[in-house]
Each structure stands twice: as C-alpha cells, then as structure tokens.
Amino acid sequence: MNPTTLHTDAQTVTLAIIAVVLPFAAFVVNFLVLGKSKASGWVSTLAILGSAVLSLNVFFRVWDSHTIHMQQVWFTIGATKVQIGILLNNLSVLMLVLVSLIALPVHIYSTAYMKDDTGYSRYFRYLSFFCFSMLALVVVDSLITFYAFWELVGFSSYLLIGFWYDRDSAVQANKKAFIMNRIGDIGLLSAIIILFTQFGTFDIDLLFGEHGRVSQSVIFEGFWNAVPLHDYEKGTSLPAIWHYIAFGGILLAVAAKSAQFPLHTWLPDAMEGPTSVSALIHAATMVAAGVFLLGRVYPFFSPEELTILAAVGCFTAFMAATIALTQNDLKRILAYSTISQLGYMVMAMGVGAYSSSLFHLVTHAFFKCLLFLVAGIVIHQIKHIKEDNHLDIDPQDIRHMGGLRKKLPLTFIAAVIAGLALVGFPLTSGFLSKDGILIQAFEWSEGKNILLNIIPIMALLTSWLTAFYVARLIFKVFFGELSLLKTFPSLQIHIGDGHWAYKLPLVFLALCCLFPLFSFNPISYENSWLYHAFALKHEAASNYHLIIPVLVTVVSLLVIYRAYLLYAKREGRIIAETGLLYRISFNEWYIDRFYRRVIVKFVIWLSGAAYWFDRNVIDGFITLLERINLCIAKAAAWCDKYIVDGVLWLAAETVQYIGNFARRFHGGKVQYYLYSMLLAVIAVFIIKLIWA
C-alpha cells in the first residue's frame, strides 16, 4: 500500500472515530455540564448531526472501494494481544450512515416529543449514549469490543425502556429486555470463546475477512480443523460439535437482540419506553444489530446452519405477523411487525440472500422508524384529548381512534407511505428489498426437500398478512370517525400535526421510503446500488422475478380492500373473537405466558430450593457437627467428672477408709491389741485351712 492511501485511510479512520465519539461527547457534556438544562437536547442533536455528516463522508470514501482496518494493542494477556481498532468496509460504513441518519430525525423529533417531560435532559443523555454504543458497535474490529458494545446498546436500551422508572410496567419490561438479551449475550460470549480457542484471535477481519481463518477451516470426519497461523505450528482442532455450539450461540445472540423466536417476547414489552426511543432503538437500529452480526460472521456458517437460520427467521416472520393481526395497542402492532420483518432479514441470510437481507435492513429502518414516529404523534394527540377532557383511556388503544386523517393530514400521508413500503408496494423501497428476499427464497428452495419448500411459501403468506395488519392499522386510526366521539359525544378536540420538529423528520423519512434513494429502476432490486455492493454472484434471471412481485402486489391489494371494508366501512367481520385461532393470535401464541408460568416459576423455585438446601443441608450439616461436638464435649465432661475424677475420688476415699479402718487398731487399749492379734491368728489359720 503506498503512503498516500495510507494517509487518506488514516484520515478516514479519524473521521469515523470522530463520528462515533461525538455522541459520547454530547453524553459527557450533558452529564457533567448541563445538568437539567433544556440545552441538552440541542447538544445531542448537534452531535448526531455532526456524526451524520462525517459518516456520509466516510461512506463515500469507503463504499465499494477497499476495506480499511487499523488497530492497536489494548492489552496483553499471556501471549495474546487484544487489539482495539476500526474496521471499515461496505457493511460497517453502510450501518454507520444508516444509524446516524435515522438517529438525526429521531433526535429532532424528540426535542418536541419530550419537551414537557421532567426527565428531558436525562433522556438525551441516554439517547446520546445509545448512539455512541451503536455507532461504535458497527465499526469495531474485534469480537471482544464487539461484544462490549453489543452489551452497551442493550444497556442503553434498558435505560430507555425504563425511562419512566416509577411505572411498574416499564421497569418490569426493561428487566425482561436485559435478561433476555443476556441469554443471547452468553450465547455470543460462548461463541467468541470457542472461536478464540480455535483460531487464537478476536480480530474480525482476520477471522471473517476475505480468505479469513474461518473460511479456511474445515469440518472433516467429526473434527473442525483450523489452518495454523504460522507454518511451524500445528493447526488446532475441536470436535465438530463445537462448530454447531458456536453457531447455536450466535443464533441465540441474534434471536435475543433481533427478537427472533424463541427470545422475541421482550420487544413488545419494550414499547413501554418513549415512542421516539421505540422508533430508533426498537425498530430501526439496535434490533437490527442481530442481522448485522450475521452479516459480520457470515462466512462462518455451514449450509445446514444456514437452513436453520432460514427456518427460524421464516417462522418468526409468520408468527409475529399472525399476532400483529389482532393486537389493539398501536405500538404493540408495530413491535410485532418489526419482529416479523426482522424474521425476513434473518431468513434472507439463511437462504443466501445476503445482500437482500442488508438491503431490507436499510429500507426497513426508514419505514419502520417513520411508522413509529407517526404512532408517537397519534398517541400524543390522543393523550391531549385524554388530558383536555379528563378521560380514563389508554391512549395507545386503536379502538379509541379513527378519522384522524383530516386532523393530521401530514401524519396520515407519512403513515400511508411507510405502510405501503412495509407491505412492499411498487414504487416504495420496501418493494425492492422484500421482493428480492422472496424471489431468492423461492430460487433457493428449488430442488430442495419438500419441507424446505414451506419456507418461501410461508414467507409469501406472511407478506399478505403484513398487508392486512398494516391496512387494519391505518384504516382504524385514520379512516372512519373518531371512536371516542361515540362514547363521549361532547369531546373537545384541538389536535394537529404539530411543531416543525415533528413534521421535518416525517418528511425526511417519508422521502427515504421511496424508490429513488435506492434504485433508479423502481421494479428491479438488482439494479439497486445497495444490492450490488454486497451481491456475491449474479444470479440468472428466473421466472420468479415476474411472478412474485405480481403475486405479492395483486393479492395485497385484495387483502387491503377487504380490510378497507372491514375497518373503514365497518362491514362484516372476518373471524369470531372467541375462535381458537383468534385467541392464539390475541394471546401472542401463549409464549410469554408459558415463560412466565413455567420457566420463571421454575427458576425461582430452583433458587428457593438451593437456599433451602443451603440452610438445611449444608448449614444443617455444620449444625449437626456442632451438635455432635457438643455431645462429645458433654460426654467428655461427664467422663471427666464421674470417671477420671471418680477414680481419683475413689482412690482418695479408699485410702481414707483404710486409714480409718486401720486407725481403730491403734486405740491404745491392750484388750484391743489382744483381740486383734487373736483375730489375725484365726484369720491366718482359716486362710491356711482353705488354701490347703
């Protein structure tokens, strides 16, 4: 590499580092200097603006050019040098831009949204901290630092879910989120440790880069063999099972962070946080970190493991979509929709649609963020109605809403654009990315086992379900008449789209939901610049390229029309609310209930049992020893008193007795002497007789 590129590379890395550290600086300033000042919002916003500008700069320097990797030793442990550094390639700069570009409108929006909250500055502190962790996560180059920031984004999510810490539901939710994420964390940690043992390094580039050590390792005859680092070394080898365990760990990590089955239940509860946070963290960025992780370690997976990924993703997508059909809480619907879309991304990784998965990650970030911001405005306005009229209602319940189209025109338009993008309608970004996934899923399943053919079909079905719940949401919220007016006819309503700080982010994000940002050709995902940069190979065009988009669009239109009749016109009903399917969907497949009633109960029981064991068996044993000791001591004391001392006493008594007895012979009377003499003679005589 010549010195000039090295120099510009160093510059690029510096810019990237500044982009990452700016939000942290904002966090520090807010924390140490500003206190409760309202200026904190603008400090954080400026910082993220700076990050966004720098990220774009870095993006254009690195995108589709070369990988930049710089590092230095962090600490040495034994013979292992643990490095800390920056790895900039297509994937990381894309995420860098995405995160900062999504965070920027959310910051602006938040300055208005959180305006009246007492924790305003605390909110921005946390938000800046999150942005720092997330930006750092996408650029770090070693698995150890990756894990560190992976946990830190989880931690900031914990802080923000429990932002209103005096609400019981919020603190239950953040505890649950952190603990479920911890399950994923130990999976990730185990995977990292296995990789470290096998390859002796934490370096992502060295492990997963081109010709990385992972891709050179092979599974052969039940052993997973690594190529040695140096020629003089022997290559390490682990039983093949550890390859699968490492995969299992990564899968757990992805399932926890990206809310995949079976670890998805924290995400709907995480909606207890402020809506702007849900938009940024629990829809657009942090939850996508799992997919990002898959992207980082992609060369690791074997074909069977990819199939498992596809199955998990597909099942999650389907399950979450069915749940979203019947929920009444506005944010919960969106949360399940997020889970479902993340399922698509994981499935796409599994079927080898690497580039489409990342493409969908990007498009989804924009439209889902937009949907959440819309939801935030709607909820805010309903809350206004609630407070103005002193009602006792849940402002997030879509059954209270309706007809908001006229009151909130801009919000409505934004919602429609985002909704169409989510459904995957032509001319939107979602069309490009989602159809890419579906087409490649069908291509993948060709010639495979019949069971595997279910995967693309379920994915297709899910896209129709998506159309239905999106339509239901929009029709219920924006069409018809405001339901509250039916119950409370004398309602006073002063609501509107609000401040520019609400409108600007909506417009910006809505524009990003349309096709031109990604491809000049609105119907072919393969023409997208984003797809191109990651495409591993150029697939031959198949029939699916025509059938799938048409099928998705036409059926979705039918579904939307049905939903229109149902919810906007309020005609007919599709399924009884007492039916089994409805109940399964409404109760979220009873998964969370199962966790609460079986797993959590079991762990608590186990801990109780452990404590009982500790008190009664281990400490009981000690007490028993103590008792036995006491008994022995008492026995010893008795023995001492009655036997040891008794013998002495007996000896003394005997001597005294004999003395007393003998004393009587010395009475000083001659008669006694005579008697005794006589007795002695007789006694001797008798003894002699007996002896003889």
Partner: protein, 534 residues
Amino acid sequence: MNILTLLIFTPVLFGFIILLLPSSMRASFKYITLLATLVQLGLSIWMYLNFKTGAPFAGISHEEQFQFVQKVPWIHLDLGAAGKMQIEYFVGIDGISITLMVMTCLVMVVAAVASWEIKSNLKGFFALFLLLDMAVVGVFCALDFFLFYTFYELMLLPLYFLIGMWGGARREYAAIKFFLYTLFGSVFMLLVMVGLYLSVKDPATGNHTFNIIQMMNPTNYINGSVFSTLAHSTILGMPARSVGFVVLFIAFAIKVPVVPLHTWLPDAHVEAPTPVSIILAGILLKIGGYGIIRICLGIFPDVALSGAFWIGLLGVISILYGAFNALAQRDLKRLIAYSSVSHMGFVLLGIASNTAEGISGAMMQMVSHGFLSTMLFFLVGVIYNRVHDRDIYHFRGLGSLMPRYTAYVMVAFFASLGLPGFSAFVAEAFSLAGAFKSHSTNGLLPYWMAVCGSVGILLSAAYFLWTLQRMFFGKLSLKGGEIWKIALTDISLRETLTLLPLALIALGLGLMPSLVFDKINDSVLALVQFIGIK
C-alpha cells in the same frame, strides 16, 4: 528501612498512638486511622509505580526475582542434634501480590471511612482495625511460611472481636461460626506447614527452612521425607502430597469461600458492621484465592495439575449455586454475600484452567471484586444506617427519593453483573476463555465447564436487576412510612467521596485492563510454565 516492612507495620504504629491517647480524644481516632490507611495507600501506590515488569522480575519460583525484598533472620534456634531452626522475616512481592496489595490498601481506606458509623468503644475498634490492617497486608507480602501463618492467624483475632462486639443482633453466633470455620482450616494447615518444614532443607545452610520459594523447588526436598516428590510416602493410605495439597486447599477454600465451605460467609456478613463487611468481602476472600495460587499451586504444582478438574468443578458449582442462592434472598446484604460466592467461583475456575488467560482473568476478578464488593457493602450500609432495615421488600421506588444513591447502586450492580466497560467483564470473560481453552492447550478442564460458568453471568443479571426493580424503581413505598422517608436522605459528601473513587476505579480497570495485566503478566506466564513443567 525496607518500604515493604514500613508498609506492613505502619498501621500498628498508628494503632499504638491510638492506644496511648486518652479516651477523651476519641473523636480523633477515626482521623488517625484514616491517616494510617492513607499513608499506607500512598506507599503502596509508590510501589506500584516503581514495580518493575519483564521476565527477569516474574517472581513465583525465583527468589531473586522478587522485588522490595527484606530477608532477616527472625528465630534461629540451635536444636543440637536436630539441626538449626531457621525462621526468617522474609517479605517481598511479585506480580501476583502487587495488584492485590494496592487493592487491599485502597479498600482499607474505604473501610476506614465506613467506620464513621461506629459509635461505641472507639479505642478498641480502631486499634483492632489497624491490627487487622497490618495482618492482611502482611499475608500478601510474606514469603516465609511461618511468617505467613503468623499473619494469617493474626487476622482472625481482630476479626472475631470486630464482628462479635460491634456486630448485629446475632453477632456472637456469627463471630464464633466464622472463627471456628477458619480455625478448622488453619489448624490442619499448621500440620502441613510443619511437615513441609521437616521435608525441606535450605541448600545454602543445610537447615530445615520455612522459605516458601524453596519449598517450590523439588530438589530441596530431603530424600524420603514426607512431602518429597520422589518418595511417594502416604498418610493414612493416601499419597502424602495429595493430602498436603487438599488440607491447604480446604484452609484457603474456606476463605474464598468455595461451596460447600461457604456458610460462614452470609452469617458473618449479615451480622458484621459495614467496615468489617467491606474488609471481609474486599480483602479476606482474596487471601483465599491468593493462598491457593501462591501456596497450593506453588508448593504442590503436581497435585494441582491432577486435581484441576475437581477445582474447576468446585468453581462452576460455586458460580451457579451462589447465584441461585442470591436469587432467593430478601435480605440485601445476604444477597450480596451470596453473589460474592458466585463471583469468586470464577476465580477458582480461572485458576484451575492453568492457562495464562484463565489465571490472569482470575487475578483480575479478585482485584475487581475487591473494589466492587466494597462498593456494594458500603451501599447496603448506607440505607442500613439510616433505617436499620435491609429487607428488599420493605423498600420500593427509592429511585425517586434517593436519585444519587440509586445511580451509585446502578453503577455497582451493573459493574458486578459484568457490563463491559467495568472491570468484572474483562475478568469474567477471560476466566471463561481460559477455562474453555484449557482443554485444547493442557487438557485439564472439559469444555462444558466454561459454558456452564457463563450461565452464572446470566443469573447475576437476574438477581441484580430484580433487586433494582423491586427496591429502587416503581412508585415510592416504604415499610416505615413517613419516618423512613425523612430518615432516607440522599448520600452525603463523605459517602460520595468514598463511592466515586471506587466507581471510577472499576471503570478505569474496565477500560484499561492493562493497569492490572501489565503488572501481572510476567508472573502469570512464569506460573503457568512453572506448573506445566512438573
């Protein structure tokens, strides 16, 4: 004068001053104690900064590689035909002791500040406190087994009285339990020590010796002696060296504490006053870990290798068992006591792995836990002092009443549950990495142990977060009602000055683990090699 000796005996000098001062000046005792600990801290930091690293300063089994050494004859008795009795005052430090020593001095400062809460019999308290201070620092520096044992036993006496006289309601029970438990361990240790003494000859003088470093060299053992590596003598039908190892291990395992020898700990902690809890958790437990590394591994490396599986197993059991027990507690202090059992399990697991990663991780965990447990017990002391209650269910929503206090609790909890950025994360991650790697490098521990150990990280999140949720979040509601609400003031300046440095240290060690690793690395490598070559 040797600086190490000065460091060890500084507290006693100040202790004498306290004893000589009349009781009317009792208000000054706490300042004198604080001054003593600060002087000691200053000395230890100076030593830390001047501590030389590199392979020629690795220590472990090479006497000349120790630093700040002082070696003078202490008890030399001519026993006629039985030779000469050679007991030396021999102190010195290497990478294993330096970090623990600095940690000890710092924890002592915090404990001194925490002693502000003591109101009765101040002269006795502070005199015993300083005596204890001398003993614990001495343990980390002593290189003569006799001297080590003297310091080791000397700790017990002040601790017994500190718990038994200034403790809570069941203090006598807790004190005697603690005393008997530890005494049980050390009595047998005495026998092994004598056995070792009789087995080892100083090659230079030809006398029997208590020198720990000479005990590490198999050529110094007399042919046919009890603990000779070649003699294969037996005690009660078991190999003598194994018995020696197990006896020493039990003595130190009680201190660590390792399940099932841990039940003194919750009782002692619950009854002990805050400063004593701090010393117990912060320092005493580390003496167990230090003893295992220095004495058990150093003198019986062959047995340590063959017994590694069982040591690792005990570590994993401690991690999981301690964590489950912590989950079941409703007394905050007891919860933290059990969490100590769990966290110290990582130390054992790391040591058992006999890899550089594992032992470094274990050392880091000891240093990190020293600071974090100090912080945790100090925090419990804060609310206990205010309302004399620690039951988790008697508090709710403290976050809105004591925001700064809650912030520190969150820092301590998250640092303890291994949040990256804090010291415990690096420590636990590398203990586990070492444990996993062990099978590939030396075949000591099976792979599954590390995986099981990592479940402990999950459980620690569960019990700490559950506690946060129950005590600190939600709507404010206190068992003691308005009276408690008035009593529960947010933390004072003195308390902040104690907590802030601890939090910063935990953070600093997490961001720059090299602060510890740089100092210990050579010694750890030497230790791994030393054990491996046997």
